[in-house]
């Protein structure tokens, strides 16, 4: 019914709403989409001066590059671990804080504090924490453990995950808390009266209401999992130890060595993967949408 009315809306109003989208669209076309078209073009020619079409040659060359494979594997494993972790941990914290405890708002503010600190200052703190003779190793040694060379071992990725969770959990938690607060109380009261356990209430009632928020937090965390590169870069520079060598390192370095063909292929490949992921998430959302209604 509502939809019908919208479609019958006066023509001028429809046009106005279309015009509203235009300035942004034009800017996005100029600054992102059209140049990205050039990037796609770059990925199938041999070099920017001769412009010979080489098909998938650049992609083949990219795949054969060991640095690329390593970087792609690191980035994939980091995102696959950290994104679900960011969602689950912050949801768990939000559910914990639903309890009737004092000082909730202070706790919430503390969790948001990572947003305030300048990235470079935080990196300094991480350096002190994860230094070979740093705080963390001192703590481990007091408890009788051996010290770990965090930056130059397979633990490198742990550091990135810790930095990522520290920075992003707070805001995720806030989003979950407000979503939890908007679940109709009476439904939960009924469930309680009927003797549903806390776990049952969570899985069968709350999770259903939370599912859009979970998807939303998932996509925000995905974005942020790529943004954490800033910290990694400031922490490690251009050429870190193996486990910390991310896709963004590879792209930066390829950019600096002016191998635009390889860089373009990597950018196109990355975009294709993201399109697939977002399409899957949208499909899940559509499916869930039907479910709730």
């Amino acid at each position: 019914m509502k939809k019908r009315k919208d479609q019958c809306g006066r023509r001028g109003e429809r046009i106005f709403s279309n015009i509203c989208v235009m300035p942004s669209l034009i800017g996005v076309l100029i600054f992102f989409l059209i140049p990205f078209g050039i990037v796609v073009y770059y990925s199938v020619i041999n070099n920017p001066i001769i412009h010979d079409f080489v098909g998938l040659e650049n992609y083949k060359r990219l795949m054969e590059t060991i640095a690329f494979r390593k970087a792609a594997a690191n980035t994939a494993s980091f995102s696959l671990i950290s994104v679900p972790l960011a969602v689950i941990l912050s949801l768990w914290m939000a559910v914990l804080l639903e309890r009737d405890i004092p000082g909730k708002s202070v706790v919430r503010t503390f969790f948001l504090s990572p947003l305030m600190v300048p990235t470079a200052s935080v990196v300094l703190v991480w350096q002190v924490l994860f230094h070979t003779n740093g705080t963390l190793n001192q703590i481990i040694e007091t408890f009788g453990g051996g010290s770990i060379d965090w930056m130059k071992s397979s633990h490198g990725q742990t550091i990135i995950i810790v930095m990522f969770l520290w920075k992003n959990m707070g805001y995720n938690m806030i989003l979950f808390m407000s979503a939890l607060a908007s679940i109709p109380r009476d439904i939960i009261e009924v469930a309680k009266l009927e003797g549903a356990s806390g776990w049952y209430q969570f899985v069968h009632i709350k999770l259903r209401y939370l599912s859009p928020t979970i998807l939303f937090v998932l996509i925000l965390s995905l974005i942020n999992s790529f943004k954490i590169f800033r910290e990694v870069y400031l922490l490690t520079g251009d050429y870190p130890y193996d486990k910390m060598y991310m896709l963004q390192h590879f792209m930066n370095n390829t950019f600096n060595s002016l191998d635009y063909q390889k860089l373009s292929s990597a950018a196109v490949l990355f975009s294709l993967i993201m399109i697939v992921i977002v399409a899957i998430l949208l499909a899940i959302e559509n499916h869930l949408g039907k479910d709730v209604e």
Partner: protein, 296 residues
């Protein structure tokens, strides 16, 4: 009775856990501020080992290990004197940060309000496709848009100027994505009522959508500001002249040199974000309240 008791004990445990976790989260902030008040001798006593590793020459280190210390032996404002009075460089870079971040935030938000309004009214297939494209663009790490950015800046002859960073920043679709989702949830009845009163589409935007989304607008603006306030990659690639670089870039370079100074500069750099939090934390907390899903 027994159940209530159990509940109480559980609550205490949760409280202890939450407070501990909260303090761990707060620690880097406190540490940065506390260390900025230490004397340089104290700093090198604590972080000497790290400096030795990083610069190797000059500094002689005192302690073998690196220590995190919260309370200064002697509170001093020396580092601040250095930052604020002795060396105009820092304030210049601070100003550079403002010159980049403020226009990006303001214009990105203005554009986002108009665009989100467009997306939230009369949806059609074409708009859905654009919105999907925006989501993809929003996810991309900077390194993917790096070549496009560079090509455009070269083409328009704005390489090595602030415009090379500001213009793509204004059109970045992140805020459009967030705000559209909030605007789409404004009940249709509000709009209908306004229409009956004879409001034009533009009035609906300014009188209904903007006031209703005020919290969301403020909190999204905060997120955008924080993101650009800490930018590192863009200036390094798009502006060759170091004198135009924002303090965020410069700050990371001091880290490897004078650590005490780095903490003080970091604290000064934190002031705008802290002020923003004091003003807007409530908005941040309730801002994107009915957020959910991807499409909006």
């Amino acid at each position: 009775m027994n159940k209530r008791k159990k509940e109480k004990i559980l609550n205490t445990f949760v409280l202890i856990f939450a407070v501990t976790a909260a303090f761990l989260f707060l620690m880097p902030t406190v540490l940065t501020i506390a260390n900025s008040f230490m004397t340089s001798t104290e700093i090198s006593a604590n972080y000497g080992a790290m400096l030795e590793n990083m610069t190797e020459d000059k500094k002689t280190y005192i302690s073998d290990s690196v220590n995190l210390k919260f309370i200064p032996d002697k509170v001093t404002f020396d580092q601040y004197k250095n930052v604020l009075l002795k060396n105009p460089d820092y304030l210049m870079k601070f100003w550079n940060s403002i010159l980049l971040t403020v226009p990006i935030t303001v214009f990105q938000m203005l554009l986002a309000i108009i665009t989100s309004y467009g997306f939230s009214r009369y949806p059609n297939k074409f708009k859905n496709i654009i919105f999907f494209t925006y989501i993809i663009l929003m996810i991309m790490p900077y390194q993917v848009t790096l070549v496009p950015n560079f090509l455009v800046a070269e083409k328009f002859n704005i390489l090595n100027t602030r415009w090379a960073i500001i213009l793509p920043g204004i059109f970045s679709p992140f805020s459009v994505f967030l705000l559209s989702k909030v605007m789409k949830r404004i009940p249709a009845s509000y709009v209908e009522a306004a229409k009956l009163d004879g409001a034009s589409e533009f009035q609906i935007l300014t009188k209904i959508h903007v006031p209703l989304c005020k919290g969301a607008i403020v909190s999204i603006a905060m997120l955008v500001f924080i993101d650009y306030w800490n930018m590192v990659e863009q200036p390094l690639i798009l502006m060759k002249d170091a004198y135009m670089h924002p303090l965020s870039v410069f700050l990371s370079q001091i880290n490897t040199g004078d650590i005490g100074l780095a903490f003080a500069v970091g604290t000064v750099y934190m002031v705008p974000t802290i002020l923003m939090f004091l003003y807007g934390e409530d908005y941040l907390l309730e801002g994107i309240t009915y957020s959910g899903g991807i499409k909006g």
